[in-house]
Every structure is written in C-alpha cells, then in structure tokens.
Amino acid sequence: MFGLDKKDTSLLLIVAALVALAPIILNPFPEGSALAQFNAGYPDLMQRFVIFGIFAIGFNILFGLTGYLSFGHAAFLGAGSYAGMWMMKLLTINVIPAIIFSTIIAGVISLAIGWISLRRSGIYFSILTLAFAQMAFALAASVLTPITGGETGLQTNLNDPRVLPSFLGGGASADGNIPKPSLFGIEMSASFELPVGSWVWTFNWGYYICAVMMLLAFYLAIRVFRSPFGLMLKAVKSNQQRMNYTGLNTRPYMLACFVISGMYAGLAGGLMAAMDPQVGAERMQWTASGEVVLMTILGGVGTLIGPVLGAGLIKYFENIFSKINDNLLHQWFSFLPDGLENFMVTIIHPFIGKGWHLTLGLMFMGIVIFLPGGLVEGGQRIKAMFKGKKAEKATKTTPAE
C-alpha cells in the first residue's frame, strides 16, 4: 500500500492508529485518581509529542542515514517558527500558509548552511553547524529584533494587518479579541471532551492537525529510507571515501538530505508557532539542538520509529517529572514508616521537579553506555531474549544423540 512493502505498511498503520487513539491511550488513569498526574492525554502535551516527533524524524534522516551529527538543527526550528508567525501576522490567521512558508524558509536557510557546512565532515561538521546555529541565536536575540522581536519574542497582535479576506482568516476577529490560529474557522485550541465513566478524553483539533502532518512526515521518511536515494545516504555513512572512489559525487545527495532534514525542522517550528502563537529566540539555542539529538539517540538512531518514541518519552518525562513535588512523594510513600518515608523522599527529591534535567542526563548517559541503539535496540534485545529462550527449549526437546 502507498508504495510500501508489507512490513512498512503495517508499521505506518500501527503508528497511525496509535496517533489517532492517543487521547484515549495516553489517559489510562481515571480522572481524580492518585495516578491521574501520569496521564499525558491533554492537548498541549500531545501536540508537543507529535511536533517534536516531526523534528526528531527529520533529524534522524540526516544523522541516522548519513551519520553527520548536526548540532545546529534548532536554528531551522526557530527560523520556521518565526516564518510561520509572520505569515499569521501579515497574511491570515489560517495555519496553512504559515506551515507552508515556515517549511520553505527553513529549507532555504538549510540550503545555505548545508552548502557551507557539508564541505567538512565529522566533528568539523558538528562544529560548523553549531557555529551557524549559535550565530542565528545571537542575531535573533539582538540585531534582528525588528524581525524576531528580540528577547521578548514575537506574538500575534490585535492590529496585525492580515491582508487576506476574512473568510480566509484575514482581518481582525469578530469578537475584537486577538484572533487565535485556526484552520478555516476552527480554532487550534478547540477540543471535544468525551467523558466515559470516570475517564475524560479530550480530542483536540490542533493535535489532530499536527498528527496528520506527523503521519505525512513519517510516511515520507519511510519512503526516503527505502529509496535508492536513502541507500546512497547509507553508503555515505558506511564509507564515504569508497563512494568517492567509485566516481560518485556525494555532495548533492548530502545537501539534499540536509535540506530535507532542515525542512522537517521548519515544519515542526511552523506547527509550534501555529499551536502556541508566540516565539522566542531561546528556541534556537544550542541546548534545543542538543535536545533533538537526545531524542533521536534515546529512541534509536537510524530506525524509523525510534525518533518518535524518543521525542514522546523525553517530552513525557519533562512534563511529568517536573510536575512531581515533595508532597506527592510523601503521599506515595505514606505506607512506609515515617523515617523510611522521609528517607525515600530525600533520595528521590533531587531527581524530580526542577531537577528533572538530572534524570534526563543520567538516563541519556545510561542509554549511550548500555544501549547505543536506543529503545528500539532494547526492544529487539528483549524480543531476542524471548525468542532465544524458545529456541533453547526447542533444542532441549530434540533428543541428544
């Protein structure tokens, strides 16, 4: 189906089903129960899951296929956000032009940066992309203030021009408030709440727009991975020198890959601006570039589903871990005797709330040390373990001669 083989089709369909049912799946605990804070099925967080999923898929196309570690992808994300924002300010509050324009702008910028950076490889490439991203960040925060809003950032205003006619989302909103990003009149923040028993499922319009984009992005990524083009990129990863010796010029392939990857980041940035219409320069900082690297590594470099898993997991932990506080811990450990309870809380305290970065760092180190293939490799190992046991049983049952 869709030009994919059977395995990939089923993968795509599984992902599509999971994404479509996410509001239900991510809310496994009934409302008001003690475990309800582990629920992730609220719109804001789900939107971030899929948006960062897109970002990580794009990063993985570059890093996973070619092995070029870019430390500057946040620049494209930020550029996409700014571009999308400007579309919403100047043209229409409708998100479609914003998303398209942000992807294009990010593509143009990545073309320029890639053209220069790809002259070098290895750590030099990392440093070059990092330098460009840091430059973009510094400029966005200072000199480019008329375009980027500087330190305060950019947001939609009441008196933005929005030149398109009102049925296309231009002009001011009817009620005189700042118009909210919408798709042909349906606001991104509009949701439909479905109470079932003690559960409440929230189906959010913006989330589903992002989800559709994510599925498209995912499908495209599968196509890239399976195409001759993707094969070429994999060959670059395994031995670029040999590729050059065979008379192939790898530069155009690399550049195309870099631009595709940058456009993914731009798309994610545009969606981010569409979901939450304010953009700040900190989105371009190198820590943001580091974050997407973490997501990809955590999920599994060079795998299809890995980056999405990694993005989801990191965003989930960021949200949930940073919400847990000492009171909650005391509640959880209240079944223990007092001394032990306090002891447990003291032990866990540095890892939660504001300290969740510590957890992230440790988790990350653990993954790189013990599981370089990320979660996907972990899953495969577990699978292999079960299969191995079965195989062992099978060999045992065969009578020894």
């Binding site: 092995g67 220069i116 440093i127 330098a131 540095p350 300290g355 440790l362 180190m365």
Partner: protein
C-alpha cells in the same frame, strides 16, 4: 592607538580562559582521541572549588559578644569563623581574603582526582566507540555535573571576590606614556593573564622537558609502538586526563573574581572552546593556545562601540564567523597537523 591597546588587553583575559580550556581539550583529544564535551563542566567544577573552599574557610560558630548590643538590647551574637580561633583574627581574615588564590592548592588535587575518576570510570570504555558516541556520553555527563552543582549551590551566581590587594585597576596608559586614565585595566585580569601564561608554560615544559612528558608525546604520535616498548601508556594517558582536568579547573578557579560562578558557566564556555580547538587545529597544543588568544582579542575588538555601530551584532557572532572562515579556508585549522580527524 590607546583604544587598540585597550582592546588587546581586554581580549587577553578572556583569551586566557579560552586558551586554558582549549589546551585541556586538546590534551585529552591528542592523547586519548576522545572528544570531551564535559570539559566545560570541569571548568565550572573548578570555579565551584573556589566557592566550596571559601565556604569551608568561613565556617563559623556563634559567639555572644557582651560588649555590643543588638537592637533589642540583648548581647549581640557574632559569627566567628573557626579559622579566627586557630590562627588569630588578622591571619584568619587574610586567609579568607585570599580564598581564591588558595583555592588553587585545593583545586589541583580535587580536579586531578575528578579527571582520573572520569577517565577510569567512563571515558575509558569509549575509546573504541565512534566520536559521536563520545560526544554524546560526555554531553550527558556535563548535564549531570551541572545539575548536581545546581542542586547543591542553587541557580544564582555566587560572588567570589579577589583578594583586597588586587581590587582596583592599574592605569596602564600612564605607565606606557599615554594620557592618564586612557587605558585602565583591573589588577585581577593582569593576574589572570600571568597565571594563564605560567600554567600554559608549565604544561608545555612538562611535556617537553620531563621523561614523563616525552613518553606522553611519543604516545600521542604512535600509541601502539610505545605500548609495544613495554611502557604502560594507558596509565600515563590517564594522568594526562587528570592534568587536563586540573588545567580547566584552575582556569575556572581564577576566573571566579572576573565572572561570578553559576552552574551553567561551563556550557557557555564549552561551545566557544570547541570552536577554539577546531580553529587552532585538532590535536595541536600551540594551535589551541594561539587560537584562544586570537579569538579572545577578536571578540573584544568586535565589541568596540565604533565596530558595533558599523556592523550591528558583530560582537555576538565574530567568533563563529571567524571559525567558519578559517575552517573553509584552512581546513585543518591554524596549526593543525595532517591526518588528525581527517575522516
């Protein structure tokens, strides 16, 4: 002219910090072939050695001073550092005042210990892994170290003043024949620069004139052959990692009066230090030092008012711009050798 001299002087202290961190990075890279993203964190740990020592020195106990009254008329409680009890008040005060320079003695063993621990405990297992893995694991370590420091010392800047003797500025202009007040330079920055030069000189002398250094240099050139000669090169490289950590730590210790330490200062310096290393040429020690000073001075020139008026924002990006130009025109960096990180 006085403007030019002033900017060169301004560039020297930042350049010294860049040079010291880049020197440590290059030492680690040249010996072990490991790209250490946690090096900025080591710089930060050094700075917090100072904070720790000054806290230890000012550990105090309460003494009731009968001769003075607080606002309620009760006898005043005064915190007296233990060190006053041991050395007398004037010596004690002097020791506290000189906490930053004293931290050098404290930081050297601590930082060497941390460095050796880091190499044996973590980095050792990454020699045969791709550079990307090394970058990532040390990046993770940097986050962890940073968060631990944040947990114990808080997120705010902690001031660590220079000794009383070095507070104030030196009128450099008057000394070399310009108008008085044209070139004013804080004493501590002169100290920092001299300290950096001594430290850099010491590292080079250590590598050049001792047997240990000779073996290390031989190992940098051809590790396998040195190993085949029956020399335990791994142990020496571990020690070099410790020394590199100490260099970064000392750079941090002495930097505290210039810039009050906070938990993310390492990350701020790390990115630039990497640019410095790459500009200087991967694996070239003189290159790292040279590039550190060149970029430091370049940065201070770019922050001159006249230059900013001409090219707004140039002070923020000049280092990266220089890095891009140098990498594209001289792919191996200023003093890079052939065959290092070519693939």
């Amino acid at each position: 002219m006085d403007q030019i001299i002033l900017q060169i002087l301004n560039g020297l202290d930042k350049g010294s910090a860049y040079a010291l961190i880049a020197l440590g990075l290059t030492l680690i890279f040249g010996t072990l072939g490991v790209v250490n993203f946690a090096h900025g964190a080591l710089f930060m740990l050094g700075a917090f050695c100072t904070v720790t020592l000054s806290r230890i020195l000012t550990l105090s106990h309460e003494v009731i001073d009968e001769s003075r009254k607080d606002f309620l008329g009760n006898p005043l409680k005064v915190d007296v550092p233990y060190i006053y009890d041991w050395f007398g008040e004037s010596t004690g005060a002097a020791i506290i005042d000189w906490a930053v320079p004293l931290s050098i003695l404290f930081a050297i063993p601590v930082m060497i210990g941390i460095g050796v621990l880091m190499e044996r405990g973590l980095v050792k297992h990454f020699y045969n892994r791709p550079h990307a893995d090394q970058i990532l694991v040390t990046f993770g370590l940097a986050i962890v170290l940073q968060e631990i420091i944040k947990y114990y010392f808080g997120a705010n800047q902690i001031p660590a003043p220079a000794p009383e003797a070095f507070v104030g500025s030196f009128d450099f202009g008057a000394a070399v024949g310009f108008d008085a007040g044209a070139i004013i330079y804080p004493y501590w920055r002169i100290v920092y620069f001299c300290f950096a030069m001594v430290l850099i000189g010491a590292v080079f002398a250590f590598l050049q004139f001792t047997t240990f250094g000779m073996v290390v240099r031989a190992g940098m050139a051809d590790r396998e052959t040195v190993g085949l000669l029956g020399i335990n090169i791994d142990r020496r490289f571990t020690i070099m990692f410790g020394i590199a950590a100490a260099v970064a730590g000392l750079a941090g210790v002495m930097y505290t009066p210039i810039n009050s330490p906070n938990y993310h200062m390492g990350m701020d310096f790390l990115v630039i230090s990497f640019v410095v290393v790459v500009v200087g040429g991967m694996g070239s020690l003189p290159g790292a030092v040279l590039a550190g000073f060149v970029l430091g001075i370049l940065e201070s020139f770019a922050s001159m008012r006249q230059v900013i008026e001409l090219l707004p924002g140039i002070n923020q990006v000049v280092i990266y711009l220089a890095a891009i130009v140098i990498l594209l025109t001289r792919p191996r960096g200023l003093l890079g050798r052939k065959g290092v990180m070519e693939d």
